[in-house]
Symmetry: D4
Subunit: 252 residues, 8 copies
């Protein structure tokens, strides 16, 4: 509860418009719906700008449906469901108006919004195998109202493929750089960019890639400035953050 709200409530107590018990309840009651298996957090929507994201992994189709219904009844139009495998997507289809993206395993209810950010988000990935994470980032940013420029298969071993896009990188509001294996892309990209670069290590690779650890460590140790890192395969987190940056100065 923000200070303004608290002050108003206290003034109502002072004026007698609200009883002590009512106020106490207000101070104690958290603004979420309790579904038993989940507390749907309508308050967080206010605090973070979007409440409509569901992490699908480890939830049954039934639980996801219940959460969507609860959100709907709270007035949410658009819901993004990440880590939604195709089986659950199929199970949800009769009940929800769901657009499903198979490669990044993303479901969308309510359609893509018109972009309303200040610029665009560039999503670059090193190889074809990294597309799943890059698309998760791109779709997330689009779902949150950002225009997205995709720069795919621009790994550093063929550096001219990346350099051909120097200008587009230089003009972006935020860059998401996705790479597995040696994870070198973000370092080079950050040298070309003048905006925040969000590095996404992927689990692409074999042997000593250790499921993305090699790429993760490389990105954490980047010698370039302006880079920060999210979890392995966390395209959603990067897209979310990039879109947040793309809306700075817009929503305020």
């Amino acid at each position: 509860m923000e200070a303004r709200e608290a002050r108003k409530l206290l003034e109502q107590v002072a004026s007698g418009d609200v009883t002590v018990d009512q106020a106490l309840a207000r101070f104690q009651t958290a603004p979420f719906s309790d579904l038993g298996y989940a507390k749907v957090d309508h308050h967080r929507a206010l605090a973070q700008g979007v409440s409509e994201v569901i992490y699908g992994e480890g939830k049954t189709a039934g639980q996801i449906l219940g959460i969507c219904r609860s959100m709907e009844s709270a007035g949410q139009k658009r819901v993004l469901i990440t880590r939604l495998d195709s089986q659950k997507a199929q199970a949800l289809s009769p009940d929800l108006d769901l657009e499903y993206f198979e490669l990044p395993r993303v479901g969308l209810i309510g359609g893509m919004p018109q972009p309303d950010g200040a610029g665009y988000v560039a999503v670059a990935c090193a190889g074809t195998s990294d597309l799943y994470a890059a698309e998760e980032a791109a779709l997330t940013a689009e779902a949150l109202g950002s225009r997205v420029l995709r720069l795919y298969d621009v790994g550093v071993a063929g550096i001219h493929r990346l350099l051909a896009h120097s200008d587009e990188i230089a003009r972006a509001r935020a860059v998401v750089a996705v790479a597995g294996m040696e994870g070198a892309l973000p370092s080079v990209v950050a040298g070309l960019a003048s905006c925040p670069v969000i590095a996404v290590p992927t689990s692409v690779g074999y042997g000593a890639s250790f499921g993305g650890v090699a790429a993760l460590l490389a990105m954490l140790n980047s010698c370039a400035s302006g880079i920060s890192v999210v979890n392995i395969d966390n395209g959603f987190g990067a897209g979310y953050l990039a879109s947040m940056i793309d809306h700075i100065g817009v929503v305020e």
Copy 2:
């Protein structure tokens, strides 16, 4: 070299104002000074907004002095030197007008600038022992023109200490959340913030903290959105990125 510059150069070749050899040299010559032990990158200043940062670790006082001189002669007024131990700082003092901050081991030439960001950067840290990294972040952001709000010793085990600053976190342009040990601060902070949260794990702790790995992993796995992570003890990287975000919409 940007497209515009390249076009102009090519037009000069076409018009005969620039010879083929001169143009070739321009295309081949990188815009940096070669000191032998280091290539001082004047070009990067243009690309990334600041060229005046020197990573002091693993450089001798003599090398640092040389790089500062080279920067100075290229017109740089303000230089930030990170990871500068007190011995080197003392060695540099006679030759440079250096302000030295002992705890975060930061040196500054040219004084702090007037803040010119769009808002302020909040730097929160969990415990007294994390101050060195928090101050590195804070001083970096200030040196790059951001106003900084320090929220220190607000670890999650005494959650009310942090909640007392909810409003200040909610209004920040960017938050740097610094923590060692279990590294839980960024998750809670991100729930209170509506801006990017940059998480800095510190090497504070013992035993199974593994020099900051526990905090690093916690931050990478945060269940909150809007968080990204930098390397262990990388206060500089977080401050740099936070200030970059604080200037979005301002410098453009």
Copy 3:
């Protein structure tokens, strides 16, 4: 064998009521039934208060049945079987009066006892995906005679959901705090509690969660006091310990 028993036995030897060979046998014979594949430990029941727990993983349905039968013939009424997959549960159903809980993979013979602890055990978990471990803890504590208060989906990224239960945490006899990903819940909970907090890291997460290692490390490094940690996904161990604490001062 306790001192009293040993003294009595020795006195019987001295008095001739027990022969040397009989006494030797008593000193040498361990108080367990040997089924070949397992030694069912009737002695441990005395030492630890419950002998009726079977760890189902890596045992065949036949072996579990054999152990149950042996326990039954030794007078055990109630047996808790953990890590019991649904196939084995089904295989055991014709032979045993088994109540089966699918999510936590727990089987119970003999029904839940009346709570006889001194207070109640609070079981809190961070997210919906952690329910399996939280329920294993809750059912274990209930099977051992504790009243359990479930506080689910109270992760720290939406701190008000947890704070809404501050009082219930403050009044508990023991708290089990279950979390995957960044594992921050126990630290915040311990700040609100005045009783032992048993932290259970879960394997929920992806990428750099490393199957629960991130949460485990976070919990081991908690800056709060009164916390101890059990193995990843070890809901049973936490529930067992919490119930043990809940019965302190009661059973003695």
Copy 4:
């Protein structure tokens, strides 16, 4: 703030005894003293039973003195300072009435209290080299009002040394089991005990002990019930928890 307090405050607002601004301030103000480098948490004392513990590592003698003074002025008589090296202890001696224990690096202000727990805490350690952590646990428990029984050098390779103390273990209210190297002590102890066993891995060992990781893993994987684990070398945490358990049913 607890519900009772909040209700009283709201009633005062309703009755006009407290103004809205005063109440708002109360709701917003956290109950701690801000020393700049640390927020001394007088509230936590209420919540957790002791506020008088200072973690000395990473704090200067000056900072520790400041915190002690602040605590003193808030009425605290007894302060335990852990991880206090002998140099700082010496530096603090002129200003504080400090009793210093060199091996476990513990300082105590205000003297040991009379034991007021319900039973006693047994502190067992495997080898002579583990004494530093065992003593940290023992002194902590004593400082918090528990009677402590020390069982030292009872490692499992000479199992009869441990078995000679079976009765004393069986009658304890809580056992702290301290071991480095293979960390097997807690498993055997838990088989002999009927109370919670808190396992403390130590960094004693070499080679593949990896600074205590081998012992830590062994303890987390114990096949015995009733065991939980704290961080490597965290004697304080174990002693704190053991004393908390020793006071269950007493302080309430």
Copy 5:
């Protein structure tokens, strides 16, 4: 673009044979075909000697077919496809003239070339289980024009099996030494060889082999000179490098 090419282009601009816009396009256009999901790099062929290798893992049969067609239209006769599982190989068979090697999962279009290296590449492996990686190396080297001598099942525990081939090792142009488990083969081989030894750790083993990490570490720590290491199971990389060395002095 190499300097010669750049000079020529610039001269054409100077002479007016090429317009500024054409030159700009040349400087900006990267020499690859963009298939959407992949940028087929015809330039790299020039730079590295072979462009005809496709890493099959994580690409659909359709994508592989598309890339092959693009290469074909660019004039490539011979294409090596690594990490191609048998299902994809079967799916590609109707459309491509593909020779398939099941054990190393390698596909070849265009047939094996005549060897044109300066000597031969020896491929040694420690055990029968390592054959898959050894064959990937051998086939790669053959596809790139090297004669290959296979020395299989020559692990160091039966050292005379290896010593029987001392001469053949001593006369090789490059040796690929493949081993899992303790990974000792390359060290012994390097003592017998007078040419570069490329060590390939395999994921063969169990328990503390950690999927090849034990062998990888052994090879990185070899006390013999002239050894370098590639990723676990990276037979391709070793075969590629060995053939490159085999062609030194030939292609130049």
Copy 6:
């Protein structure tokens, strides 16, 4: 080739009984059969006492059959095949007179020999789930001519179950101690034994057992003397070594 053999050969060269070329061939030819996919090592039989062990993992039924046939033709009567899954065992049954042990996945050709060691090998294991590795060790030792005493389910959490066998441990020629989870059994066993104890960590456990790493580390760090360790789940290695020790003084 041993010195005596070499001397004899050289004497024959000197006397002209053997030509230079024949001797050279003898010195160069290794005493093994090359099956292409494997070099069957008849020489090793002499060097190590048994040549009749085949590691079945990663070999096809056909390859195993081929190796058996080659051994048979070289005069081997008894062959032990480890890590032989039941499918391959079934495939080999029509062609070989194979006795198959399912739990430890061991196949035996030629039947168990009469024990001819100096004493007996005790094989102890901590829990029912460790039986597979314990049986691999036991069967191996028996196949190599040792009498084996099985002591199963004697984990340290119920220490009296183990102590009941103190005498049998004290009289063994060699002890194999098998344990997963915390791996404490060998330490306690070694305190009771006066012969070499071979510790076998198993992959039994979950969470922070890391597939046997916890047990492995515990065993490597044992504070007891006379212990050595083999790889995780390497029951064969332990049984082989125990039988070797059991035959010391016998075969010589």
Copy 7:
């Protein structure tokens, strides 16, 4: 207490020669001297053949002296002190008749005994830097009555240096193989030996040797039979075990 002893004691109780209280005391009293900081275990001497080894690390010179005196008064003539740094050795010199070996940091009281084993122990090490651990093994075996053959600097990269000693390895009763870096020596040695090979990884190396982990893993994964492994740098453990094997059939 062994069965015979227990029977005798019980018979004395039956006959009245020993009172119940005396017998009880005997059953309860452990056969060790309690020095406060250590329990000197005179019983273990009987069980394991030597009681005279002190692990010097982490013990003060005073504590070591006390333990030696206690042993002396219990009749011990010969005491081996391992991990004894030169400072402590110097401090002990006036009080004890101590022979000190600096490289392996071993102290010996009572002089080397006449060898009384059945054969000899070969101690091989890979490089000059491994000498400290090899000597710890060699001296330990000698102090326990074994004849030792030292084969130093026989690393596998120059395989002929090792092969020159094939016969001496083939005739040993036990081999200790010491190596750092890639740890390949034991595998090759075991192929030449017909007795147990005890592998000692050393912490010699740099970079990815990780303080001996690379060598440790290599040794655990050896493809040769008859090998077992001790902790990194644990020359003592290997020498102890080798001498134990060397005395099999002798002492019994």
Copy 8:
């Protein structure tokens, strides 16, 4: 011993020119000098081209001197000593004509030879802090007869600094690419090179660089072809291998 030599020896035995005992001795004697602490391997010189390298770490100045003297008496003119700290260098100075390079800790006896390779070795490093390893590589290659081109401070975050040297990289016979932190340099370099690239990870970095592990993993996972990797900080190994490649076709 090579086949030719063996044949000759055998012919001498046949002809009676060499007695059986002499021949036996020849077959048994390894061609090295045994200094007690080291076996100086004169044979390896023949096998590997250089015998004159001493790894100085873990050897005393006296031992190094002894080895040099032994080499000298065997006719060696030039000796390279790596990992030689300045103290030992100083200690050796009076006795040896030693040129000492402080940064890479390399000593050289006999002076630099004239380059006699086929081309040149390019040694590139990412940052100023990596110079120590780059120089170790460069000096090693020079000492072995290669011309070296140094390209220092060309890290990928300022990609144009590296691209300015594209031609020099493209024309090299072998490239050594040295980098710490994220270790991305070799991938980009390999895209520009047409010769083998030897990647050297350095221990430069902090936090999650883990002493060079991050760079090592990145290099092992490089998506570029033609790369192989040596141990962390192993500049010597890379320089040795690069020079070996530089001499292919020359020495033969």
